[in-house]
Symmetry: C2
Subunit: 210 residues, 2 copies
Amino acid sequence: MKNITEVLEWRYATKKFDTNKKLTDEILNQILEAGRLSPSSLGLQPWKFILVENVELRTKLREAGYNQPQITDASHLVVLTYKNSLDEAYVDSYLKYTADLRGITTDDLKSYKDMIMGSITSRTPEELKVWNSRQVYIPLGVMLTASALLEVDTCPMEGFDTNKFDEILGLNEMGYSSTAILALGYRAEDDDTAHYKKSRFGTEEIIIRK
Amino acid sequence: MKNITEVLEWRYATKKFDTNKKLTDEILNQILEAGRLSPSSLGLQPWKFILVENVELRTKLREAGYNQPQITDASHLVVLTYKNSLDEAYVDSYLKYTADLRGITTDDLKSYKDMIMGSITSRTPEELKVWNSRQVYIPLGVMLTASALLEVDTCPMEGFDTNKFDEILGLNEMGYSSTAILALGYRAEDDDTAHYKKSRFGTEEIIIRK
């Protein structure tokens, strides 16, 4: 197995996928599971990951995604979405779930609840939305890394019409909003971008020691 | 080596670090390098990672972080920051860097520049700030995963006074803002939270198939 640096050097934003190569269910599930296991602020997991398998839907999404071919040509497509709001009912459901899992009562989690509710009520609805929208980039980073470790190519994308995506996927009714796409698959042999040098600022530029 | 699912099941938000165990430089550098290699929207890398080694600074940060012990007790502390704004000068410096790296001219990247500038000018200053602040959660996710692979414990944290952090670290002058902490180290043997069941919503709840 390669080390993590080699793995991340190998990965790149794949522009052209091999339409004949598909992820196995086992590999796909490991990547989705990595997303599910990702941490989030206060553990609230304000996200859903939409795995779009329906060909017609993917065609519509491609139209709403400036016709970028990865949307239909990648083996699998995951749309990352965040929760539009947070309220006490959601927190209670999370705490009930957690208490059941740990064999304790929600009363045992009272101070945890107070902390969460303090965090929520100190934010405006707009701030809550921004806060949630940030959290979902954690599983994006985790899934990108997991994919590269599994030798799966990825293209993370933000260039799409989020309102149209929300409409096509029925996200408004769910109370969620789309923010990023993760296209998963295997690079086409003739994807020239695979050979571009990775453009990252130097260590001395990015890592500031204090 | 464990598989990625086992690695992510192993990791948890470490509450109590062993103050005697330190990351080696080699391990630390691999984690920071994973952050540096992380992708970002349009490749702009609107972030700096502040590695705080000065003991006095860490003590001050702990005060500004509701006295959470991880801030001083973890082996290493990284503060993730994002760029407050984006402008043509920054884009030009990025494109110059990229062109030099690839042995091409910035003229060859003209259409790429147009795309980036279109993305920037379509956003208000506040939207740019939010956009940048999201991006930095990608390297957070990548570094969390890299750490777990290297058997390094982590505590990602948002519960701190970002204004005070910005002041203590001189971020305002740099044009950056703090948004999250990554505490790195090794769990103390008596950290009870290590044994809590990980509370994640089920697959059927989080992964929606369409």
